[in-house]
Amino acid sequence: MSVGMVNIFQQADHPVLPKPTHDERARQEFAKALKTFVQQGLLPGLGPVFEHRAARAFARTHGRPPADRHDIRLAMTRDPYFQHYAATNRIAQELLWESVLDSIERDLPALNARAAALSASARAPLEIDPSFETPRYVTAIDIHCMPGGYAGEVAPGDVSTGALYDRGVYLYAMGYMGPFNDDMGRSVVNWLKRHMPDLRPARILDMGCTVGHSTLPYKEGFPEAEVIGIDVAAPQLRYAHARAAGLGLEVGFLQRNAEATGFPDNHFDLVVSHILLHETSGKAMPRIFRECFRILKPGGLMIHADLPPFDRMDPFAQFILDNETWYNNEPFWGAMRELDQIALARDAGFPDARFDTAPMAVMEFAAGAADYADAAAVAEREFTAGEYAPGGGWEILIARKPA
């Protein structure tokens, strides 16, 4: 994050986005500002505090320097600077959800009615399965401390946790996902256009699409394609379907599990996911890779966008990222980063999976909105663990099913 850049990024409005009052918006902006401050004001101090204080205290106690991210955690959790950093980060997360819930609570029945009306007007399908079994790795705890989690419902046809996610994730990312929260999908589409300009996918699947924020760019980028988003959480899908209708894009949303989607063999040209894998489980992830192989046409592409695996960063960076596991209700976050994804892909039938980086699409946001004028400064950044979207790009695992 460029020092001196003032973040005035604003989310683009759309028909099912919760509308805050003046004071609700002020609280939301405060939560966003607090997250910014943690990253710009507190995070930079962690390295020096570790080097000059916590590591030395650890060495005095244990007779050796900290060796890995577990030792670093042991050293840092005793240090008051880290305690304030971690506590503030967690409280910022909690204030963020609280500030959005106020807007939703005020408007709940009207929000659900509005979503239902928009969905009814859409041509693309919405499929909710009343007997669907949401996997335990999604329901055991509320991921990101989002109250209700992805699947929580408080009324028939409820979209409230979808609305909570759409506004909440904008604040969580401090606006770096762009005015439509679509940076990840947009970045991958841009990467494809740049590296595979002849690609003409007829059928595209986005796995774990949540509110469809990263799904819609594929319809924009490949307008002739049939684009489908799947997720296990009904309120997210209902909201996604209404959201897409409100934004005028035809994308189908189906309640399916990425481990066993129910689609036919050899069906899709392109299967993608965005920050899905770290929210699954040790057993689910290999199954998802195998399912991708099955439903892809020969020659089809699998792309999973997420944060880099641990072996691509130093122990201190690993420690910082691992805080998500312990403090932000991300049960699979740490363990996922220890998996050999290239090997998993190979076991699933993809002989030459590789990693690449898809630069963030922020330049487009800068062109599109006055309050994103400074966004370009974000594009060229060094990787810094703990910062949102570190390194100005998304790590993508890309693999082709043999033709």
Binding site: A26, H84, A86, I91, W97, L108, P109, P147, V154
Partner: protein, 114 residues
């Protein structure tokens, strides 16, 4: 009337060893948020007044409080500080009465015996 779910499932970690400090920190940050929100409202108020032809900042700087207003404001400040320091007041009263933790425990034991 359906209400959204307010609390996320999953035991919240403790960040501080000192008991009560996690809650104190969260309350401090909520207060920071409320303060920032109130300030933003005042800022909006001044700008809205400006749109209606009232130069709020200049008027604020030129404002001369009458003695009655000065008195109201000082009364508010002193009351605010008393509210802020209520535990200091309590602590002094405990000292004057000779109230200690030991005496408290002793009272409990005595009453328990009858």
């Amino acid at each position: 009337m359906p209400q959204p779910i307010r609390d996320a499932r999953g035991k919240r970690p403790a960040f501080y060893e000192a008991q009560g400090l996690d809650q104190a920190m969260s309350m401090i940050l909520v207060l920071a948020s409320e303060f920032a929100t109130l300030r933003e409202r005042v800022d909006t108020l001044e700008r809205v007044l400006e749109q209606h032809g009232i130069e709020a900042e200049a008027a604020i700087e030129a404002y001369q409080p009458a003695p009655e207003v000065l008195k109201q404001r000082e009364l508010w400040r002193q009351a605010f500080l008393r509210r802020l320091y209520y535990l200091a007041r309590k602590d002094a009263a405990d000292a004057v009465r000779g109230d200690t933790e030991a005496r408290f425990r002793e009272t409990i034991e005595t009453i328990a015996r009858g």
